[in-house]
């Protein structure tokens, strides 16, 4: 199992050709209290970088992009009733959706944890 990160502050946990996607601790901190998450429907395909979800806090609405190309398999329905999970446990229970990868080589362009930490230090 590997975890990768994007410059849009998403994490991707990869198990075989399956990826679970959510937003990072840093991202939820920047957004503040999350009040709504709009999730993609299962069985939809998405190209890398496509807008697939929206996360809304009291102060911002942000798009969530597909970190890699693939098919959405499942969305975290729990978030419809409890969007606060994104704040409380962003990198586990607050996951957004699961994808089946079509091109694992795309993962090579994503950041590993050390790179991501360095990236957010730069942003600060």
């Amino acid at each position: 199992m590997t975890v990768k990160y994007t410059r849009e502050h998403e994490w991707i946990r990869i198990e075989g050709d399956m990826a679970t996607v959510g937003i990072t601790f840093y991202a939820q901190e920047q957004l503040g209290d999350v009040v709504f998450v709009e999730l993609p429907e299962a069985d939809t395909s998405a190209d890398q970088g496509a807008e697939v979800a929206v996360v809304e806090s009291v102060k911002a609405a942000s798009d969530i992009y597909a970190p890699v190309t693939g098919t959405i398999i499942e969305s975290n329905e729990e978030l419809s009733d409890r969007p606060e999970l994104v704040n409380e446990d962003p990198e586990n229970d607050g996951w957004f959706f699961k994808m089946q990868l079509s091109d694992p080589s795309e993962l090579d362009d994503l950041l590993d944890e050390a790179d991501y930490q360095a990236f957010i230090q730069e942003e600060l």
Partner: protein, 943 residues
């Protein structure tokens, strides 16, 4: 001999002595010197504006009255979305003519806006109940623009990839025309269909149909909706608000969106506006609803409290990704409609609808008896086949009525609240018919069976005493200009003088139908002609269109003019819209509506447009540049010296300059968009030219254009001259009824008074900046240290030093009796202050004293190494209940909380609620009051 006071002296809050004192504080000797120091030389207006000299209030009213008397008030049965209505006097006097309601701002600070938020919540509940939809917004600009919004909402929400939108042929002409304007740049294909014989819909993202059509016939929308649903097509139903008391609700019949006008609920026709359009959607679509939405949340002490909800969808946050550029509502008019519904209640409204229908039915039977083909079904409008429509219209007019000419051989008559037996008899004579006995002529399957408006709000205030007290009670909860300065940056909350407001309810202005014959509207034509000339002189533009009925609409109209011009020259490929990062969020949102791609230009550290970046982007995009959208003085509150160079750079590749007129109050008489080198601007008459904010609308956003853009101003089906650009608003002159306000202002100020006002506004802003600079850094000034007509206080440092947020400061200001300045815009974590010219020195000082006192409260946290969490700031504002509670949990005293300065002991505004929980409100969306049945338990049998 002493000089008598002129209107200029009444409008400008500062006396000559006060101005002299303030100038001295700034190290200046005269107002002229101030203007010379602040406004860059190269754009200074060198001549006196050529406007008529100022008139006194009495003389200006007399002159306007003589113009108004050229309008002919004729009993009008034209319909087509505009009906005569009887505004209840208790509502006219206590709302429309009451500064507590009309001078309030948009309720962004909910703790001081509970009165109008409750009123809007009532309005939303009324719309939800009548339409049968799940969620209604707090109103849109007019029925036609609401229909255009519905179309784009369908496109965004539909799963269909198609660009086709079906449009029923029974829409009002103006609705159809505004939809066409909107569809064109977005590339939608409009397909017309007959509502009574709908085709098998296929491959489209949506359709729109009018429930009671422009011919009066009632459409059986249920099979039509079902047919669309089966194909995955979203259905928009436009409906007459009064008819929904007797016709089954579109929501019940499966519509996805329902919209229309609430004009006939007590708001005069006013030659076309302003009126509140209602807009309601299914639960599924609620998060994509355009405009503002009032929701219920709780405050810090757990009370129910109202606030604007789902604000993050708005254009100021989403910018070019915004789903619409709508950033206002028609609050004053929506509230009038909502109160009208409270006053009449469900039974009163139903009785009115039944009476109107009954009168129409007697007329209909008479026509049918005579054998003239008519619509079989109707609510209030009967179409009649005649041999010569013009002759029939003329005959009706001879007998005192305007009726509608549909085409050469058809006329229609619309009955309304003012219709009665006596009028019916005259109409019978005109049409040479024998009136029938009347019957219900609504299709059986469409007769309303569902209950509506069972809530307490609609079943309590039926006596005038109760209504009067309810209106007073709500008004007392709010802080408007009638109590205190509202120093909102970029909003120009200046005086809305009583003599400016008086004419709008004169019958000669109020009771005019927008499609009445031209020769009945000569007074309007003259007033509009005056206003066009004067605004052109003030802005140095060649043409003015008064049609756009909000600032954002003006932006949209201005960009359409630019694209129309490019297209006429074979340059439709120009689709790059340059927007500085400091721009108002509506700019990129409007650009997206016109099909432009936004390219952001950076700002340098002084907040000015980065010329290097501009040059680089202009070079990169070359002849694909459509325009640059700038604001002047900049949104950072500074007169940028390089603005002409900025314009030249864009012009050099054939691009156009759109100058956002939001800050025109710093220009009038000193410089102008024309001098600066701009091609088109919108003006906010509700900022610079005294139209009140109405608690969040109406606004008026006319555009001014240079000579070459004149042919591309908005057209209208009612205009004889055609424009390649269609209408942007339902009515040809937008919100015509409130134009007399700006007419009066300009007429009473004259060229010198207007220039004085601009200078005084700049003086007041600089005075505040000077007094507060040692307490809070002023974020941006020009090279000489001056600001324009507003200034940004940097409050970010106290977040670091004391943990105090900009929100804490804003809410604490309420305890000092002030509406907060603009928060976190254009720079997050800061406050932007615009005092305007209307505030007296004492009020400016009271505000500065409050800000300084708050700074001392912050210092106390800093020096005592205390925590912001138990500071007097964090728990602000304080209600009476909070400071009188038996158990006082705080380290600071009740007195410190309640009376931080002595003057408050005499005059203290008490907010009705404590700080409102935004997170709770957004997570638990409640946007209308549930019906009574959901409160009551199953009745138990009596013992």
């Amino acid at each position: 001999m002493k000089q008598e006071m002129t209107f200029r002296d009444r409008h400008i809050g500062l006396s000559d002595d006060e101005r002299a004192f303030m100038l001295k504080t700034l190290g200046l000797n005269s107002m002229d010197e101030l203007a010379t120091q602040v406004v860059p030389d190269n754009i200074r207006k060198q001549t006196r504006m050529s406007l008529p000299d100022a008139l006194s209030e009495v003389d200006a009213l007399a002159e306007l009255k003589s113009i108004a008397s050229k309008n002919q008030v004729v009993r009008t049965l034209i319909g087509q979305g505009y009906y005569h209505t009887l505004t209840p006097a208790v509502i006219q006097r206590n709302v429309l003519e009451n500064p507590a309601w009309y001078t309030a701002y948009t309720p962004y600070q909910p703790e001081i806006s509970q009165g109008r938020l409750e009123a809007l919540f009532n309005y939303q509940t009324m719309v939800v109940e009548l339409t049968g939809m799940a969620v209604a917004n707090a109103s849109l600009l007019d029925e036609a623009t609401a229909a255009a919004e519905a179309m784009t909402l369908c496109e965004r929400s539909s799963k269909s990839k198609s660009n086709r939108f079906y449009v029923a042929s029974n829409l009002y002409r103006q609705t159809r025309a505004v939809i066409e304007t909107r569809a064109k740049p977005l590339g939608f294909e409009l397909v017309e269909f007959d509502a009574h014989n709908p085709p098998a819909f296929d491959n489209a993202f949506g359709l729109i149909v009018q429930y009671t059509g422009n011919d009066g016939a009632v459409v059986d929308i249920q099979p039509l909706i079902q047919n669309a649903k089966d194909k995955g097509i979203l259905t928009v139903v436009t409906a007459d608000i009064l008819s929904l008391t007797v016709l089954e609700s579109p929501g019940h019949l499966g519509a996805d969106i329902c919209l229309g006008s609430t004009q006939r609920f007590g708001v005069p026709m006013g030659n076309g506006g302003p009126h509140a359009a209602f807009f309601a959607v299914t639960d599924k679509l609620k998060r994509n609803i355009p405009g503002r939405l009032v929701g219920r949340s709780i405050d810090s002490e757990g009370r129910d409290a109202y606030r604007l909800t789902l604000q993050t969808r708005e254009q100021h946050i989403r910018r070019e990704k915004a789903t619409s550029n709508i950033c206002t509502a028609q609050v004053l008019l929506a509230n009038i409609a909502g109160f009208y519904a409270c006053y009449h209640g469900p039974s009163g409204l139903t009785a009115q609808a039944q009476r109107v229908h009954f009168l129409a039915s007697r007329f209909h039977q008479g026509i049918k008896e005579k054998g003239q083909m008519v619509n079989d079904t109707f609510f209030d409008t009967v179409s009649v086949q005649v041999s010569d429509a013009d002759a029939m219209v003329a005959k009706a007019l001879e007998n005192g009525f305007n009726i509608f000419k549909t085409n050469a051989t058809t006329v229609s008559v619309s009955f309304d609240e003012a219709s009665n037996e006596a009028e019916l008899k005259v109409l019978a004579n005109i049409f040479s018919i024998k009136l029938g006995h009347g019957a219900v002529a609504l299709p059986n399957q469409l007769i309303r069976k569902t209950d509506f408006m069972t809530q307490e709000a609609f079943n309590t205030h039926h006596s005038e005493t109760e209504m009067m007290r309810y209106l007073r009670k709500l008004a007392d909860r709010d802080l408007a200009l009638d109590r205190a300065m509202i120093p909102l940056g970029s909003c120009t909350m200046k005086l809305n003088a009583a003599s400016e407001m008086a004419p709008i309810t004169w019958p000669e202005f109020a009771n005019i139908h927008p499609f009445a014959p031209d020769n009945q509207r000569l007074g309007y034509a003259e007033m509009i002609h005056n206003l066009n000339d004067w605004l052109a002189e003030i802005t140095d533009y060649a043409g003015i269109s008064l049609q756009p009925n909000s600032g954002a609409q003006g932006e949209y109209a201005g960009l359409l003019a630019i694209q129309g011009y490019h297209e006429s020259r074979g340059e439709a490929h120009r689709t790059i819209c340059l927007v500085p990062s400091s721009a108002h969020g509506t700019n990129p949102a409007s650009a997206q509506m016109v099909g432009l791609d936004v390219v952001v230009i950076g700002c340098d550290q002084d907040g000015n447009i980065d010329l290097y970046d501009l040059k680089a982007k202009v070079e990169q995009h070359g002849t694909n540049v459509s325009c640059l959208m700038i604001t002047y003085p900049s949104t950072h509150g500074v007169f940028e010296t390089a603005v002409q160079e900025v314009c030249d750079i864009v012009h050099s590749v054939g691009g156009q300059i759109y100058l956002d007129g939001a800050n025109l109050n710093a220009q009038v008489g000193l410089t102008s968009p024309g001098i600066i080198g701009s091609d088109v601007s919108h003006l906010n008459l509700h900022k610079t030219f005294c139209i009140p904010h109405g608690g969040g609308g109406p606004g008026v956003g006319p555009i001014g254009v240079a000579e070459h853009l004149k042919p591309f101003m908005p057209g209208h089906p009612e205009f004889s001259t055609q424009s390649p650009v269609g209408p942007v608003s339902a009515a040809p002159f937008g919100s015509a009824m409130i134009l007399p306000i700006s007419w009066m202002y300009i007429r009473m100020m004259g060229p010198d008074g207007l220039k004085d006002a601009t200078e005084s506004a700049i003086l007041s802003a600089n005075y505040i900046a000077k007094r507060l600079a040692s307490h809070y850094p002023i974020l941006y000034t020009d090279a000489k240290g001056f600001v324009a007509h507003e200034c940004i206080l940097d409050t970010r440092a106290v977040k670091e030093s004391a943990g105090v947020t900009v929100d804490d400061i804003a809410k604490r200001l309420i305890d000092y009796g002030f509406h907060a300045p603009t928060m976190s815009w254009p720079v997050a974590g800061t406050l932007m202050i615009e005092p305007t010219e209307s505030e007296p020195l004492a009020e400016l000082d009271r505000f500065c004293d409050a800000m300084i006192s708050i700074r001392q409260e912050i210092s106390a946290i800093e020096s005592e190494k205390g925590s912001a969490d138990d500071s007097v700031l964090r728990h602000a504002p304080y209600t009476v209940e909070a400071v009188t509670t038996a158990h006082w949990p705080h380290a600071f005293s009740r007195q410190e909380a309640a009376f931080p300065v002595d003057s408050l002991k005499k005059d203290r505004y008490w907010p009705p609620v404590g700080r409102i929980d935004n997170v709770y409100g957004d997570r638990n969306l409640v946007c209308s009051c549930p019906p009574l049945s959901e409160y009551t338990d199953t009745p138990t049998e009596a013992a």
